[in-house]
Symmetry: C2
């Protein structure tokens, strides 16, 4: 078992590369991680994949058990200055606010209307999900999915001035090219949950059932003979911190062999994958390039990495 | 869009055969449904699969969207005289009952201890799940999975005198042989949920993340440095009736193109798959062979099929 802290820049980012690595090891020629800085993490990932796919070897893992879980926001794509779902919720709240004058005094909606990121961040992932659930209540899930997909295409990031859909860390694009190479199945475990499902499958090349995480409550309804699933104004599940391994168990019913995250919200998911029998791998992405993206760790309002920097060396 | 009621015997059973059908159509020689009675349902399934896999045809469905959902108890295997998870709960309750004299007076535990199947059935799927949740509270999910897998291997069916693991309807065994032929992905949507996950993957050749359904609440715990997920004494979700489409949406985030069930508990799942744009298929299995298995429909205590017999002809 091993884990590594990886300091990285925007180009030399991160993650899932199990698939690209495995595909490349199979062909044995191409560098599977061209956008990574050379160093411990890169070598360790390549070594890990080589061991688990070697049939007859002591660390062999059968194809159907080669499951990797990846945090999304901050790990697979930028989460600064705010989660994309927060930007979506902003739009949604503003559009509805004229009919709800009482929101002007109520946190965290007030913070949203005023663009007060600090107060908003203080409400955490759960607070954000509650706002979203309240503003989307009554909408059918098919309409919700279409709306999010449209917004993400149209929206631009406030600082980087590019569509949000472009702000995916590069190595993930390599993952798309060989989605099930060597039998590795990537799962995204995201606080964004159903948001991520609505826009990410095409961009990452991962089907929605492999994107798991937070969800709002829903209800089956018949509109005449037409069946619909409608969103209710309540949070069902928050996939953050201890909610990540609970969500993995709920959605997958088994433990992954590889986990990758970037913040203290991933600190329960990593050992859940890593501290099991057999060779396992846990990776913490540490963002350190303030120039091209964001450097953030102990004092960040979004994606704080504090305990993780203390615990990672102790846990190897 | 089409749906069919199928009268069947134990050998001429049922279901998922999408995969076997598709594999066979690809080779174009072998009868894909040798254990089916010839007739409307058999012809309709073969026709449906042929259409959705024909590239360029008007009904073509891309590989990644070829998802079929199948009820488990009564559809893929026998649910008579009681759900297998009920038999497991019986054992569990009896083993613990000596420490809980108060159970002797409390329904539905009392019915379990006395073997009173009628009262037990009256408590429904939710009542059963509540008993199970209460008796398993505090157990780690890994221990739960191992325990269920052991029990199902050891247990014998009371009337048919065979291991429960043998009581899988024959055509499902064909499904195991070609699990992803032509890109069809089978999902089991089961009231048994986490029970089914614990014993079915090996028998059906379907990974646990494609077995979705009812669940108990769980909690992440650290036993020293060792992470565990423990079962709590509460039902989280019941995948029956309207809970089936809600569960499909929660676990998969998209709608299937084929659905197969056998009771009124499947009557919301079927139209959720079937009443969508494009060619879709809904199938109701009607058990009619009392001699080799069970015939049951309008008045059965388990797996009642009543409304379904009225609605199926109306809905085509």
């Amino acid at each position: 078992m091993r884990a590594t802290i990886l300091s990285l820049t925007r180009r030399a980012v991160l993650a899932a590369l199990l698939l690209a690595v495995a595909a490349s090891l199979a062909s044995a020629q191409v560098d599977p991680l061209p956008s990574w800085n050379s160093g411990g993490a890169r070598v360790a990932i390549i070594d890990f994949v080589a061991r688990v796919i070697r049939e007859g070897g002591p660390d062999f893992v059968p194809g159907e058990d080669r499951i990797g879980v990846f945090d999304n926001d901050g790990t697979l794509r930028s989460e600064q200055p705010a989660y994309f779902q927060a930007a979506f919720a902003f739009d949604q709240i503003r559009a509805l606010a004229k009919d709800h004058p009482e929101w002007n005094d109520k946190q965290p909606r007030k913070a949203m209307l005023e663009g007060d990121m600090k107060s908003l961040a203080a409400s955490g992932e759960k607070g954000l999900l509650e706002i979203v659930a309240a503003t989307l209540a009554g909408m059918n899930v098919s309409d919700f999915n279409a709306l999010v997909a449209d917004r993400i295409k149209a929206a631009h990031h406030p600082r980087l001035d590019r569509p949000y859909s472009d702000l995916v860390f590069r190595p993930l694009l390599e993952l798309r090219a060989s989605p099930r190479a060597n039998g590795f199945s990537p799962f995204i475990v995201s606080g964004g949950g159903e948001f991520t499902r609505a826009w990410a499958p095409d961009i990452y090349g991962i089907p929605p059932e492999q994107i798991i995480g937070s969800s709002g409550k829903t209800e089956f309804r018949l509109d005449g003979d037409k069946p619909e699933i409608a969103k209710l104004p309540a949070v069902e599940f928050v996939a953050d911190g201890p909610g990540k391994p609970v969500g993995i168990n709920r959605f997958m019913g088994r433990r992954p062999v590889f986990a990758d995250g970037n913040s203290d919200g991933d600190l329960q998911m990593l050992p859940w994958a890593r501290l099991n029998s057999g060779l396992r791998f846990g990776l913490i992405v540490h963002h350190a390039d303030a120039e091209r993206a964001w450097a953030y760790d102990r004092n960040s309002s979004v994606g704080r990495l504090d305990k993780g920097l203390d615990e990672a060396p102790r846990r190897g």
